[in-house]
């Protein structure tokens, strides 16, 4: 298929960006979206132009590095996928595709489609851990039985890949789904409950400091989340925060 791409080009954090049009031809429907971007970049390099910078790494939907806002949706039109798992069969010959970086005040653009998501790092550094040293003397892994239900729910929360699609999607640029998932994973496990109050307070405080917006229960984050992280995690975070403040 032949496509027109409208891509956000921005030299660096301090420059002004703009949308630029490109044409790509003979794109196979079996290609992934990023393979289509590879084709474009090879074309640009051969023409002596600068290729489009975009974040990507594992290309199997788990590292959370790839971003891109495609036709107005984080990770594009498919559900339950990251951009690297999006396939060109979702598009038609002759389509015009708009490709922008994730937009949020807390995610400044570094170059073209690459954004700075280190705000997520600082939130996790504020409390996204259990305070246990490595020793080789921790108690046996089966010493505390954990109900399958709780373990499965913790796993569902822990499956978050930290890509930031929730923030990019939210009209308020809220990070509640991300932080909710992190808080929930630990809140659901006995090992995490010891520090639960401090954890949720510190992580929420850091989230606010980073300039993420508030949650107004629109639910768009859950729809766009490539890993299907549930809104229940936001509710659980709010409960944990309430518990921590009384």
């Amino acid at each position: 298929m032949n496509l027109t791409l409208k891509i956000w080009r921005q030299k660096d954090a301090s420059s002004k960006g703009q949308m630029v049009d490109y044409k790509v031809t003979d794109i196979s429907e079996h290609m992934s979206f990023l393979e289509m971007m590879d084709v474009l970049n090879e074309q640009l390099i051969n023409a002596g132009e600068e290729p489009v910078a975009f974040d990507h790494d594992c290309r199997e939907g788990i590292c959370g590095m790839c971003s891109m806002y495609i036709n107005g949706e984080a990770h594009g039109p498919d559900r339950g996928v990251t951009t690297c798992q999006l396939h060109m069969r979702m598009f038609k010959d002759g389509d015009t595709i708009t490709i922008e970086p994730f937009r949020a005040a807390a995610f400044p653009v570094i170059k073209d489609l690459v954004v700075d998501r280190t705000a997520f790092e600082r939130i996790q550094q504020a409390g996204g851990y259990i305070s246990v040293n490595t020793s080789g003397n921790t108690q046996d892994a089966n010493a505390i039985p954990i109900s399958k239900h709780a373990a499965d729910e913790a796993m569902d929360a822990a499956t978050c890949i930290g890509c930031g699609a929730c923030v990019a999607t939210c009209k308020n640029s809220s990070a509640m789904l991300f932080v909710g998932a992190k808080v929930s994973q630990y809140a659901l496990l006995p090992q995490g409950q010891v520090e639960a109050a401090d954890r949720v307070r510190n992580m929420v405080e850091q989230m606010d400091l980073e300039g993420f917006g508030n949650c107004t229960n629109t639910g768009a984050c859950e729809v766009e989340c490539p890993k299907g992280i549930s809104l229940e995690n936001i509710a659980r975070m709010n409960r944990e925060l309430m518990k921590a403040s009384i």
Binding site: D38, I45, R59, E60, T134, T138, I161
Partner: protein, 670 residues
């Protein structure tokens, strides 16, 4: 220099304990004055950074991604082995040790492997304490599954995302130390050289990938945890950025590189679909627990399937060749990875491949769905269930076990694997070879350590499933933090290492010169052009089966590609900015050297062992006819290569392998 593995004396089961009791320690007050650089933040680097910082050292950690949590360990799916014997099926430290040495085709160092098996149980305890949500049974205890090449269930897992969960565990431990200021984290940084001062590793030169700035970082020891070199094949299951640069740079500064030809080709990957393909996707080997692998028995059916006239589900049981079950009745579909991969290649080379490229075999879940369905019908007391009901019930169980893998397959291939068998083909996945290290995990450069996939140590010529995660975390949590202390105890009075020495100056200049060369070369071909060309030579001639003629051709062809690369490579943009093409150019330049050494090593090793299969070395008669033939008399050694300029001039050093606790035997999975 003679290779000294520094394996301590005494019986194998006491070595590590006695050794730990006797090594030198650094007192807590002195640790505050000692800096350690860790390059790479996957399972090995992440766990090492966190543990060293907990101990009190000042850690500087480097990752090329925007977060340490994105290292490619995150993509490991199936699980992590540990000799916990929770299932009471006869597992033990010795058995894990034995399986690992046997699975590695008797080409690993016994003492290292025993230690790995010994600390494996601690890893699970540690991870549970960190909040890793492993799968559990209804009683609330940890669940296990079994993996290829073993007869017990010792694999712990977190859905199909075990690597992700373990890495997030190590990452959370890192975050705690970053918050305390004990780890200084350098995201979006790439190490481009190691700095050796007075014969000791004392720092690195790194590039800030956002600004392009070249930086000097000093430390009392340098730990390389940068992963494997599978991307030398261009197409592999590695991440796009996975590279061998850190490992190769230390090799060029004096670290021997061991057994580069030991590469694992994973049997269950999604087949290639076209020339634009940028990477291959692996599906967990755990699928082989329930999936049966086959190709059609008759060539007419193969042709009919390729032309779309027949569907795989049209073929009756006796029209199918379940070739693994046929050839290996004892292990069946659960033979080790190298055996499964070669068997698939054998069928496809014989013309039985089931897709358009001729490079695919089926992985079929129909019998598992039926088996589980019948079992569920019994459990739910359903009398005379219909076939549809059985399938419905069975699919639910298969979904619970492998749902995310099935979904991933469907997204990529656009076929529903519940209804039609999956297509799979082997792909490069893991490299057992790597930087040579002694028992302390130190390389041949004093003060330079290498851990995880980047080193050569524990898997011999073939790695068993779910053992990479085990090794990465064993090295980082439980081995390196002890052994590095012994070395650093001599550095308590050294003080900060200055970065204005001539050695730093020189290393920085070499890095800068190379970057300037790339930017100014303005050749005619992109970096990927050369990488793909290299990958094709590697796959065709240094892939799943190798022979003398092909390997010699590969060496000269790689050399030619390298020469053309340095003449014609084109890197757009400038040095002082984010420039992904410039990053790739440096990595591919190193792969172009590593690839030639890889072929040289494969040429030298005139035997078949594990992932290394020489067509000249197969059993000619008897029950094992056609199987790989090892040569213990001449090749029971580790091949450690010393850098001498051109890869072809590398000098071989042998570490003879001694097998005192395991009898050398031919691997038989029949």
């Amino acid at each position: 220099m003679a290779l000294d593995s520094k394996v301590p004396g005494g019986p194998i089961k006491d070595k590590w304990t006695n050794y730990k009791d006797k090594i030198n320690l650094v007192n807590p007050a002195n640790k505050r004055h000692i800096d350690v650089i860790v390059v790479g933040t996957g399972l090995a680097g992440g766990s090492a950074s966190a543990t060293l910082a907990e101990l009190g050292y000042n850690v500087k950690a480097f990752a090329y991604q925007d977060s340490p949590r994105r290292a490619h360990s995150i993509a490991a799916q199936g699980g992590i082995n540990a000799a916990k014997n929770y299932q009471g099926d006869g597992d033990s430290t010795y058995r894990l040790f034995y399986d690992t040495v046997k699975g590695g085709d008797y080409r690993s160092r016994e003492a290292n492997v025993y230690r790995l098996a010994e600390v494996s149980a601690n890893i699970i305890d540690q991870c549970v304490a960190q909040g890793v949500p492993f799968a559990r049974d209804y009683g609330g205890l940890l669940d296990n599954r079994s993996f290829g090449g073993v007869l017990v269930s010792r694999t712990f897992y977190a859905k199909g995302q075990t690597g992700q969960q373990l890495l997030l565990g190590a990452y959370s431990a890192m975050n705690r130390q970053i918050a305390r200021g004990k780890i200084e984290m350098f995201n979006r940084h790439e190490m481009l050289d190691v700095v050796v001062v007075d014969g000791k590793a004392r720092g690195i030169i790194a590039r800030n990938l956002v600004t392009g700035e070249i930086e000097r970082h000093s430390a009392h020891a340098v730990v390389i945890a940068s992963g494997g070199y599978g991307n030398v094949y261009f197409l592999s299951t590695n991440a796009m950025g996975s590279n061998a640069t850190a490992a190769w740079k230390i090799h060029k500064k004096g670290a021997y590189f061991a057994n580069p030809c030991y590469t694992q080709i994973h049997p269950t990957c999604i087949p290639r679909s076209g020339d634009y393909q940028s990477k291959l996707t692996l599906m967990s080997e755990s699928l082989r627990n329930d999936g049966r692998i086959w190709v059609p028995k008759n060539m007419e059916d193969v042709i009919a399937i390729r032309e779309g006239r027949k569907k795989p589900t049209d073929l009756s049981e006796d029209e199918r060749d379940y070739y693994l079950e046929r050839r290996y009745p004892a292990f069946g579909n659960l033979v080790p990875r190298d055996v499964a991969s070669r068997a698939a290649k054998e069928r496809c080379d014989a013309g039985y491949g089931v897709n358009a490229t001729g490079e695919a075999v089926y992985l079929d879940f129909a019998s598992a769905i039926e088996r589980y369905g019948k079992e569920q019908a019994k459990i739910h007391n359903i009398q005379n269930p219909s076939k549809e009901k059985i399938i419905e019930l069975g699919e639910k169980i298969v979904e619970a076990k492998y749902g995310n893998l099935f979904q991933m397959y469907e997204k990529i291939v656009d076929e529903n694997p519940y209804k039609t068998p999956m297509m799979i083909y082997p792909a490069t996945h893991y490299t057992m070879g790597g930087v040579w290290v002694d028992y302390n995990l130190m390389t041949t450069i004093p003060g330079c350590y290498c851990i995880g996939e980047a080193n050569f140590s524990d898997h011999g010529a073939n790695r068993l499933g779910a053992s990479a995660l085990m090794q990465g975390l064993a090295d980082g949590y439980f081995v390196l933090p002890y052994t590095i202390g012994d070395y650093l105890s001599n550095d308590i009075r050294t003080g900060k290492i200055p970065t204005d020495s001539p050695e730093f100056e020189e290393a920085e200049k070499a890095v800068q010169d190379r970057i300037d060369f790339f930017i100014n070369n303005k050749g005619s071909k992109s970096v990927d052009y050369f990488h793909k060309k290299l990958g094709k030579v590697m796959w065709d001639k240094v892939g799943m089966a190798r022979n003398e003629k092909g390997l010699k051709e590969a060496m000269s062809e790689i050399k030619q590609i390298r020469e053309e690369f340095w003449k014609e490579v084109k890197v757009p943009g400038i040095a002082n900015e984010m420039n992904p093409e410039l990053e790739k150019a440096g990595r591919v330049a190193d792969f172009l050297e590593l690839g030639e050494l890889f072929a040289k090593d494969a040429l030298m090793r005139e035997e078949s062992c594990g992932g290394h299969f020489r067509e000249e070395s197969v059993e000619e008669s008897g029950e094992q006819k056609g199987e790989a033939k090892r040569n213990d008399k001449d090749f029971a050694f580790v091949a450690a290569w010393e850098y001498k300029g051109e890869p072809a001039d590398a000098v071989l050093h042998k570490e003879e392998l001694e097998f005192k606790d395991i009898e050398l035997k031919q691997r038989s999975y029949k």
